[in-house]
Symmetry: C2
Subunit: 304 residues, 2 copies
Amino acid sequence: MVYERVALIGLGLIASSMGHAIRAAGLAQEVRGFDIDASVREEARDVGFCTEVCDTLAEAVSGADLVVLAVPVGAMAAVAAEMAPHLAAGATVTDTGSVKQAVIAAVGPHLPEGVHFIPGHPLAGTEYSGPRSGFATLFRNRWCLLIDDGVDPAALQRLRTLWEGMGANVDAMDAAHHDVVMAVVSHTPHLIAYTMVGVAEHVRRVSDSEIIKYSASGFRDFTRIASSDPTMWRDVFLTNKDAVLDILGRFSEELFALQRAIRTEDGPLLHDYFTRTRAIRRSIVEAKQDTAAPDFGRSGGEAR
Amino acid sequence: MVYERVALIGLGLIASSMGHAIRAAGLAQEVRGFDIDASVREEARDVGFCTEVCDTLAEAVSGADLVVLAVPVGAMAAVAAEMAPHLAAGATVTDTGSVKQAVIAAVGPHLPEGVHFIPGHPLAGTEYSGPRSGFATLFRNRWCLLIDDGVDPAALQRLRTLWEGMGANVDAMDAAHHDVVMAVVSHTPHLIAYTMVGVAEHVRRVSDSEIIKYSASGFRDFTRIASSDPTMWRDVFLTNKDAVLDILGRFSEELFALQRAIRTEDGPLLHDYFTRTRAIRRSIVEAKQDTAAPDFGRSGGEAR
């Protein structure tokens, strides 16, 4: 038992997975939930990953020793302002947003003295959203990043224990570094996937049915990423703007260099580039951050 | 039994999968194999997906009623020239290259009168290469495209029957259209994945270990694609240059439009774009060209 009463605010993929995982591992006495959307609350009651789904934010957070904000980054400030008067003294507030500097700026000013704010970001998810999409093992062997700039060490340790209890590995870092790292490994890849899917839709000489039928040749992996929650991703790009624009600039430079190599038929440059990128895949599989099964195991081949 | 004797030339992922599939389904009496690399021939003998692995190209193709060129596109011309004198009259020659106009230009002129040339392209593969990477179900429920510009209908039908026997769906189209479609659904996505992985390696503020540990947040899907065979992909870009450069131009335009929306903080444009790209994913899953399981099933969630 790590906390007495956890309040999950925003009952989508992350909160529902946390609810399942916390209850499966017995990490809290009570898990309260709240969502601004009444139909989502209804679904959440149906699924049953909370001990109680409350009809108001105030009721959900009052008496909680851990409050988890799992709402879109753009909604964090309003939620923080509304719940602040109802927070218990000594409570910890954390979040699960994909950017950290913007969340700190949005949430921090609203929180009363004596409440610990420890921003967090579980690097886990699927392309599905909503209270029915969660499952207890989502965080298993995934990383959760906690932001440690000036936070209370005991409160940090307790939150770390919760995440570890849900199966995650925990790293602590500062918010600015978090945002740069995510621009590289998550935000820019998502924008590029969205772009490629958008381009495919617009090429008149290729029909939609051809794009769909022949997608297994590479394109379908992009469509999975590009089917993630639109509101969440809009907020990510608006709130981690500087880091994403920086990485996008580098991406364009690099893409133009390869494009030029194709135009000038520079075979050795291309071969060399494609050889170097192979090594990083090997490291990811060795670090158990992806399966070694060919094609993610989709086509029935065996792991090697 | 569709053919008497099939000759597989170039014993990598595709040929080894064909060998396994042909033998599992009893689609040919005999499957001969040849690879220019003696160590690959040795491995292929070990794995046993051919009835016989020959030490010369001439021996492999002589007496075959189907010859499959599964070598890199850049090697097609040389292989065709060398094998031409040894082909049986009435034999069918096909290939499995990812581009079709360049293969036709490379192979066609070398083939003697009376030999049917039907270019082909199975849209199947994994990120692995070599004679040990093949498996019998690789083509199951995947598409194989056959090029039908001026080919013999009976020879086409026979080759179609072979591919269907290996579990594939077959579509016929002309070579120019094939190359544009592939530039959209395969070649440009691969180049972009290679580029993104290259960028990540170069960002000094983010360590290699961070890229690897935190890759589950999007990046790892790019690394799988970017670990495909470098020689094959170099040849693809050099030989489908015009179509790839065209699609890359559109990609850059589109990326700049999204980049501008981030810079000007145009939330509605981003949200609208990210919503439209969701629909295409649904269609791909409905067409059974990908799994509906969250995260390709990697994280343990269930298909919905």
